[in-house]
């Protein structure tokens, strides 16, 4: 009876076998690599997504080109002012540069993928439509007709 609660004296606690730990971590690593995407650009504009409910997911990430629109971030206000700006890749751009940018992105895709190219417009919710309209016209001229207005899900 009492022996049940006695310490086993000499017996040592068996050590946990950690040899499979790397495998576990690697499995987790691969999972993360599958479900995430590389953050390609560092944002230079403030982008708060507008809210909507009828959203569709963008399917193939490799076919999507992003255009960011918004006011420059606080650190760049000194150089850029607080006007709404367009960001393509890592740099600020003007509307007339969009066409070249799209052409360049398009040519870097596989030929059979080019018709499915989608441009995602990530514009701040307080942007004036004038800028967006200009961008849309530029995209039409560049024959990038599939677009997506990026938005976040509105909580009901």
């Amino acid at each position: 009876m009492a022996g049940k609660f006695n310490k086993a004296g000499k017996k040592e606690m068996p050590e946990l076998n950690t040899s499979s730990l790397p495998d576990l971590v690697f499995a987790f690593l691969f999972f993360i690599m599958m479900v995430t995407t590389m953050r390609e650009v560092s944002l230079k504009v403030i982008f708060r997504a507008p809210q909507a409910t009828e959203l569709q997911k963008l399917e193939k990430k490799s076919l999507v080109t992003f255009i960011y629109v918004g006011q420059p971030i606080q650190e760049l206000r000194g150089q850029m002012g607080s006007e709404t700006r367009i960001q393509l890749n890592d740099a600020f751009a003007e509307v007339h540069e969009i066409q070249d940018y799209i052409a360049q992105e398009k040519s870097s895709m596989k030929e059979e993928d080019q018709p499915f190219m989608t441009v995602s417009i990530k514009a701040d919710r307080e942007t004036k439509m004038g800028v967006i309209t200009d961008i849309k016209q530029a995209l039409r001229e560049a024959w990038a007709l599939k677009i997506s207005y990026s938005a976040g899900l509105r909580g009901t």
Partner: protein, 195 residues
């Protein structure tokens, strides 16, 4: 020679640390957010030398939705609140009472449905001012999409007992034929007001 000698095993205790480092690196540099948005198709560009000719659309087939620079919505000829817009648009697209001023219905052969009266030629023309706020524009786009989605869900449920997204591809195409999405984003105009 020393052929009996065993090659010493590599000490693997640190590989867990290495894997952790890689894991943390990926956690930091990647982002998980899937991009969502309202998908639209832009019209083809108009050639520069080409005079924009007004395509002939019967007045009853056209619904103009206009957003002004103070984000007010004009639907048809009256101001509406955002919450009323969806029902108005649904009523316009569907035209359940065969109203004279709503889009004409044309008999179309649709798979699964047989011959159906469809408001095939309706156009919703979305126009905005340069000073309109983006959120207001997205709100309206969203309501238009919601109107189409509800109509499509409705008829899908009646015909197939499922909502639109759960249908097979052919069934979806058929439903799309019954309610074709025809939103036209007009050529930009400046309606006055501040830029």
């Amino acid at each position: 020679m020393g052929s009996k000698k065993k090659t010493p095993g590599i000490n693997g205790t640190s590989s867990a640390d290495i894997a952790f480092m890689l894991l943390i690196f990926f956690l930091i540099t990647t982002s998980m957010d899937t991009d969502r948005g309202l998908a639209r198709r832009l019209p083809q560009p108009v050639p520069k030398d080409h005079k924009a000719e007004d395509t002939d659309i019967k007045k009853r087939n056209l619904l103009v939705v206009l957003i002004n620079s103070s984000n007010q919505i004009l639907c048809g000829n009256e101001f509406v609140e955002l919450s009323q817009l969806k029902d108005k648009v649904k009523d316009f697209i569907d035209n359940p009472n065969n109203d004279e001023n709503k889009p004409e219905k044309i008999a179309v052969d649709v798979p699964f449905f047989g011959t159906r009266m469809v408001t095939k030629n309706h156009v919703i023309s979305l126009q905005n001012d340069r000073g309109t706020e983006y959120q207001a524009y997205i709100n309206v786009q969203n309501e238009l999409a919601a109107a189409y989605n509800e109509l499509r869900d409705d008829i899908s449920r009646r015909q197939f007992g499922k909502v639109f997204i759960d249908l097979s591809e052919e069934e979806q195409a058929a439903v799309q034929e019954v309610y074709p999405q025809r939103i036209s984003e007009a050529e930009p105009k400046n309606y006055g007001g501040v830029n």
